[in-house]
């Protein structure tokens, strides 16, 4: 590879799982696992530069060309519709986007109050069903909304459902499955095609290997 490829990794467990895939593919970077305040890590031998960013920001870094590639959840891609290539479903970080709440509130007639971090996904879903809704955009603790009467239901990602159960809520409908995707900037894909497609194949191979 003769051009450096910039990769935005999501901070947290998902990012670490993905970074393991890079390591398994022989594309790791010294210092990445050390606990430091360093933000950018470069492996000049493999021509890769990594940086950790907030998971919901990865798609922005890639769409705007600050990163050539990145790893983002399908939830973020559906919510913000960034203009990027979605090169591979890595099959990790699996969960579901669901409507959750209590049956009696879900069945009530009239406008449904929906609390969510994902207003676009929720709006599209309920519009498809022809149901009148009132979106309440929250940034966290979504499960609290139906418990204290802020909303009738929530639209959120559900991994195991434990938090819902512990709060006497349940999954009412599954909107779609979610997993982590390898994404690429459209212009970078043209100008760094060889490097990006080679790396995408390596990571896809590592993802398949991890699943096998």
């Amino acid at each position: 590879m003769n051009q450096t490829i910039d990769i935005a990794l999501p901070k947290g467990r998902l990012g670490e799982q993905v970074y393991e895939m890079f390591e398994r593919s022989g594309c790791g970077c010294p210092g990445m696992r050390e606990d430091s305040r360093k933000l950018v890590f470069e492996n000049s031998e493999s021509g890769l530069r990594f940086f950790w960013v907030k998971p919901s920001d990865v798609a922005i870094y890639v769409e705007r060309g600050a990163a050539d590639m990145g790893i983002a959840g399908k939830d973020i891609l559906l919510e913000y519709s960034p203009d990027v290539y979605e090169l591979h479903d890595l099959g990790i970080g699996r969960c579901r986007m669901c409507v959750a709440g209590r049956e009696e509130q879900w069945r009530r007639a009239g406008t449904l109050r929906v609390a969510t971090k994902f207003p676009n996904i929720a709006t599209r879903y309920f519009r498809g069903q022809g149901r009148a809704i009132d979106i309440i955009k929250l940034n966290g603790s979504i499960e609290l909304a139906p418990i204290i009467g802020l909303s009738d239901v929530i639209v959120d990602i559900v991994e195991t459902g434990t938090t819902l159960r512990e709060n006497d809520l349940r999954v009412l409908e599954t909107i779609l499955p979610i997993s982590a995707r390898l994404i690429a900037n459209k212009a970078s894909f043209k100008f760094k095609y060889e490097g990006i497609s080679r790396l995408a194949k390596l990571i896809a191979g590592a993802a398949e290997g991890g699943r096998a």
């Binding site: 290539y85 090169l87 479903d89």
Partner: protein
């Protein structure tokens, strides 16, 4: 003259000269258009929002959100081919969160009989437009004949079709398979679509294989049209760095043939976009064929931005001398080809190559970047 032009002004000047050389004439249009035109063709616009206002005679008007639609509506219909170019501002909200923006674009439109030469010439002008911007460019070609045939064969409608087109545009082979499987669509055309979307590389290398693998008459015609346009492009000496990318998606209601996008190094998204839009012409009640493209000048603002840009060559600080002495010093410097900014006190935020101060009626250099 050249040095006082901003990069985008230099570029527009270069593009005008380029399009004129091939017989395109300038086209100026009003900033306003009746809103009905956009209301009836909302999905042609890259984003739906339009700035509207009521005219003095009570008509609902719109500040132009798009140029092609206006040209297609206002020109043509008289038999003879029209070749026009423009550089205009349009107003739309590419991101609803950021509100309306002024988007500057330059481009050309051809309305009339479209043959292989016309398509090749338009592609050549697209390539040369990219060359005007920078040396690092790529032009990607596709043909709606492939996409339309396969998408129709899959029989998806409404939100499922929209999701499939999103997957195609995102080059997501797995999503294409997943959408088709979930909708119960036949998997053979789904696999063919996935295979085509995965293709990317030099058009001259990939087109022979694509032509040989064409399965329907529409696909064969599409491959042949791409090959003939490429041959014309090569005859113009512009066949290098032209790639085949069948993941380019455009609204199938308006675009019907060759479609293309241009990228330049340093810009994160396509800076040029164009294609054949006979279907739009038919929708507007016209028989002509049409093809054109636009260069999005606002995306080029940051390219080649120089950190060393100066407001003037010389910052001249007066020192209580007579105004005539100051004027004589300024005249001497400007006649020597230097730009001069006279400013009492210090440089402040002004960026100047050289700082001079008047001393005994003569300018003396205090500091210089040279």
């Amino acid at each position: 003259m050249e040095s006082i032009l901003r990069p985008e002004e230099r570029l527009v000047r270069g593009l005008r000269a380029l399009y004129s050389r091939y017989g395109y004439r300038p086209y100026r249009m009003s900033k306003f258009e009746e809103y009905d035109l956009y209301a009836g063709n909302r999905s042609f616009l890259p984003s739906g929002s339009v700035i509207t206002f009521t005219d003095t005679n009570g008509r609902l008007m719109a500040l132009k959100p798009d140029v092609t639609l206006s040209i297609a509506k206002n020109l043509g219909g008289e038999g003879a081919a029209e070749k026009v170019y423009y550089d205009e501002s349009v107003y739309r909200a590419p991101d609803s969160g950021l509100g309306f923006q002024e988007i500057t674009q330059a481009g050309l439109e051809y309305l009339g009989p479209v043959d292989a030469y016309v398509q090749g010439e338009v592609l050549m002008l697209a390539v040369r437009s990219l060359m005007e911007v920078t040396d690092g460019w790529v032009l990607d070609l596709s043909h709606m004949g492939f996409l339309c045939g396969l998408v129709d064969e899959l029989g998806l409608r409404g939100p499922e079709r929209a999701e499939l087109l999103r997957a195609v545009g995102g080059r997501s082979v797995q999503s294409i398979r997943a959408v088709c499987a979930a909708a119960g669509a036949p998997m053979e055309p789904a696999e063919r679509l996935a295979g085509l979307v995965e293709l990317y590389g030099p058009a001259s290398e990939l087109l022979p294989g694509l032509e040989a693998a064409a399965r329907t008459e529409a696909e064969r015609r599409a491959a042949q049209e791409l090959s003939s346009a490429l041959r014309v492009l090569e005859a113009f000496g512009c066949g290098e760095r032209v790639n085949l990318d069948l993941s380019i998606t455009c609204d199938t209601e308006y675009y019907n043939g060759l479609v293309f996008k241009g990228y330049v190094a340093g810009a994160p998204s396509a800076v040029l976009s164009g294609g054949r839009y006979d279907s739009l012409m038919r929708k507007l009640g016209k028989d002509e064929q049409a093809i054109g493209f636009a260069v999005y000048l606002n995306l080029l603002e940051r390219l080649g931005e120089s950190a060393e840009a100066y407001d003037a060559d010389v910052l001249l600080i007066p020192d209580g001398e007579a105004p005539e002495e100051l004027a004589a010093a300024v005249r001497e410097l400007t006649e020597a080809g230097q730009s001069v900014r006279v400013q009492p006190g210090t440089a402040g935020t002004a960026r100047c190559r050289r700082v001079m101060k008047m001393k005994n009626g003569r300018p003396v250099t205090l500091e210089s970047d040279d």
